[in-house]
Amino acid sequence: MKAGLKVLLFALALPIAFVFGFGWKDISAGEWDFTDSLRDWVSGNHREMPTPTEIFTEHLANIRDQYRSELDRMDLRNAAMAGLFTSLGDPHTQFLNPQMAASFADETRGELVGVGARLSPDPFGALVVEVFRDGPAERNGLQPNDTITAVDGENVSGDDITSIVDRIRGEPGTSVRLRVLREESDEPLELTIERGRVQVPTATFRPVSGTDFAMISISGFAESTPFQFDQALEEALRTNPRGLIIDVRTNPGGLLESAVAMLSRFVSNRPVVSMQMRGERRQTVSTPTTRELASNLPVVVLINEQSASASEIFAGVLRDYNRATLVGETTYGKASVQTVLPLVDAASAKITIARYYLPNGEDISRRVDPDGVYLSGGVAPDVEVTSNFGDNLLSGDPEQDAQLAEAVRLLESRVVTLR
């Protein structure tokens, strides 16, 4: 090589080496765009810009010292940290102040028992969505669609659903008195129910009245759910249905393994979900190779805004493999795992550390603006049908359930071909 060329190459190598060194941190993490930092260096911006901590401290002092009245220091700090966490736009990544951290921990404990009913929030108390078979509530006359307005003589209208459930739960063997409004009766009813251990059924078969379709309602994805689901599926197939409706409305999710096991009845030996943890490559989970129990049956899955997590994966996978049509409302958008990290003063930081993705790679995570208003997320239905509040979601009767009625209509018209 001529000497001149060598010098030229060397002269070029230096700036390239510099830029390479500058961007090494990003390059090694797989990110190639570090031009912002480069621009800052060239312009000398970094010398003038305050750090985020400096900005925060300046305005904390400003507000604390100049606001018209004295502010509680801890409240102000907690408000600041809560605000800090909301800048990510992820509703599941939250700062929990000490009070919130304590009640969050409480939710996961609890050996109290209930009466065997599923309740949902209602402006006037609690709405009974489901009464478990053979449970104390069923034995004592509680019915789906009842509205509970008082517990042990105390009005619960307007109370938070968690506090109503807390009141109803108690020691096994003790009783609770419920005041209940029922559509057919003009006077409220007073029911006394003895609390006892209840087996929460998570997958139940119901025929759909007036049709030859079968419906399986899945209320959660517990360890026993795949077994219950298989039983329900066999029960359903014995009635020779022309179509299958799977209801995961108001199903908050649960174990992903259970959802995967249940998916294998429809799609076997296929990738069904991939998981992404911080800094790692996505890992894929596939269904095992098993007998697909219901391979020839057209399927509709019912979803609503309270279908979350494993329910969304379940519905989304069946849709992506063209094994089911989705009817109802867009799901919640919770396909992530959080960890709760304790902080020095009994506060906690709840942080999303992993996300789940559907087979087609779609990220269904819910995103909100700083006011908490929904921006995007969830699995969208193929056919959107809103529920009229007060629809009896578990009646199995299309006349009482608009979303179920649409599922029946679709199956009848065979718009759903082997899908």
């Binding site: 230096l14 080496a17 961007g23 985020p52 605000g83 966490f85 307005t149 209208s157 992993a354």
Partner: protein, 416 residues
């Protein structure tokens, strides 16, 4: 060249490249230190070594720093800790004050706010506010028979200014119109809340059948699903110059819906009032000069208004009317000494008539309070017996900002 020399050059060359790579990396660390991004092992307090800081301040800063780094390390997606994190924390703090005069605005809103203080109105050309005085913000309604829950007072959102020449003016919107909904979203009203409370009480007492309850319940939940926030309404109506917006408003008890285009309107700081010969000032750039430029020995200022204001300009207006010295002070509830409000009079003395009334609020109320009973000033109308907070504006490096209520204005005894 000898072989030794060639080897030497080659080694030097390789070393040069290696050192350049290191230099690049070091430069990056320097930049990131400036951005507050820590490399491992730094505590991050080196920017705050000022020993005059009271001990308590450092723990908040440390907390913020540690939490930011925790998010950066643990969050599932890559996170850059930058000025927007600080803005989020400030937003949280200002929001916790629950004070109608202390409002955080993100960069988009704050930019529009600053523009309005220069007379430039984007969106449909309005300012909106809430009608609930600060003292009533968050007060419970009286407990009625059977109601078990007390409620926070829900403010009404009201138009407080219509910019002349804007699409809002052309559509006939007026100050005092109540905003009930934007697009397909609705704002919760006090009447909504009171109706729900009444129905809850009846349900608890068993006075209403489940059938009727169901019908009401459907209506309520349907509305709840369409709720929007004050902040979102501000964005729809007061930012952007493109597109159209559907607005539902209430006037004299009737609801109406209209469609308006967004655009940009520019107005001066002194507008003719609907009363002939009177002017309404806006506390925006240039207002003091505009007042000085008014002809005649007698002027009338119409202060029956409220709206966005740069409060420092209030003092310039006082000065433009010829007054000097400590014209007032800001008193706070923390027990520290009041902060003086100074004017440097550079105007001629004139007969000034101020029109006031129940609509006089905010900066207009402050101006009226500072001027009353001074030589040459006469008030027409009754000045509301209400506190007049002093509000200052603060900006953050990412373009967001907030207003802060510093206390109430009291008039000072002063030189003319």
């Amino acid at each position: 060249m000898t072989r030794v020399q060639r080897n030497f050059l080659a080694t030097a060359g390789v070393l040069a490249v290696v050192f350049t790579v290191i230099a690049g990396n070091t430069a990056r660390q320097v930049v990131e230190a400036g951005q507050g991004v820590a490399s491992t092992g730094r505590t991050g307090l080196s920017g705050m070594l000022a020993s005059t800081e009271p001990g308590g301040l450092i723990s908040e800063a440390e907390y913020f720093y540690q939490l930011s780094q925790m998010l950066r390390r643990e969050y599932v997606d890559p996170v850059v800790v930058d000025a927007s994190f600080a803005a989020g924390a400030v937003r949280g703090m200002v929001g916790s004050l629950q004070d109608p005069y202390s409002l955080f605005m993100d960069a988009e809103h704050f930019g529009a706010f600053r523009q309005r203080l220069e007379g430039v109105y984007d969106g449909i050309g309005v300012e909106i506010g809430t009608d609930l005085p600060m003292a009533e913000w968050g007060q419970p309604v009286e407990e009625s028979e059977g109601a078990m829950q007390s409620l926070d007072r829900v403010p009404d959102v009201v138009i407080t200014f219509v910019a002349p020449g804007s699409s809002a003016e052309r559509a006939g919107l007026q100050v005092g119109d109540l905003i009930r909904g934007v697009g397909d979203r609705v704002l919760m009203t006090r009447a909504d809340v009171e109706a729900v409370e009444a129905l809850r009480a009846q349900a608890a007492a068993g006075e209403v059948s489940a059938r009727e309850l169901n019908a009401q319940r459907q209506e309520i939940v349907e509305r709840l699903n369409r709720l929007t926030t004050f902040s979102a309404v501000r964005r729809e109506l007061m930012t952007g110059t493109e597109g159209a917006v559907a607005l539902v408003f209430e006037r004299d008890g009737t609801e109406r819906q209209i469609q308006l285009n967004r655009g940009r309107t520019e107005i001066g700081p002194l507008q003719p009032s609907d009363l002939r010969g009177a002017y309404r000032p806006r506390f925006a750039q240039g207002v003091a000069d505009a007042i000085r430029d008014l002809n005649g020995n007698a002027i009338t200022l119409d202060l029956r208004a409220q709206g966005d204001a740069d409060y420092a300009l209030i003092l310039e207006v006082v000065a433009a009317l010829g007054f000097s010295g400590e014209v007032g002070a800001v008193q706070n509830e923390r027990g520290s000494s009041p902060r003086p409000l100074m004017a440097q009079g550079r105007g001629q003395e004139r007969e000034v008539t101020l029109l006031v009334g129940p609509e006089t609020r905010g900066a207009y109320l402050v101006l009226a309070k500072l001027l009353r009973d001074r030589p040459g000033i006469s008030l027409v109308g009754a000045l509301p017996d209400r506190n007049a907070p002093w509000v200052e504006i603060f900006e953050l490096p990412d373009g967001s900002g907030y207003t802060l209520n510093l206390g109430d204005v009291v008039r000072g005894e002063v030189t003319s």
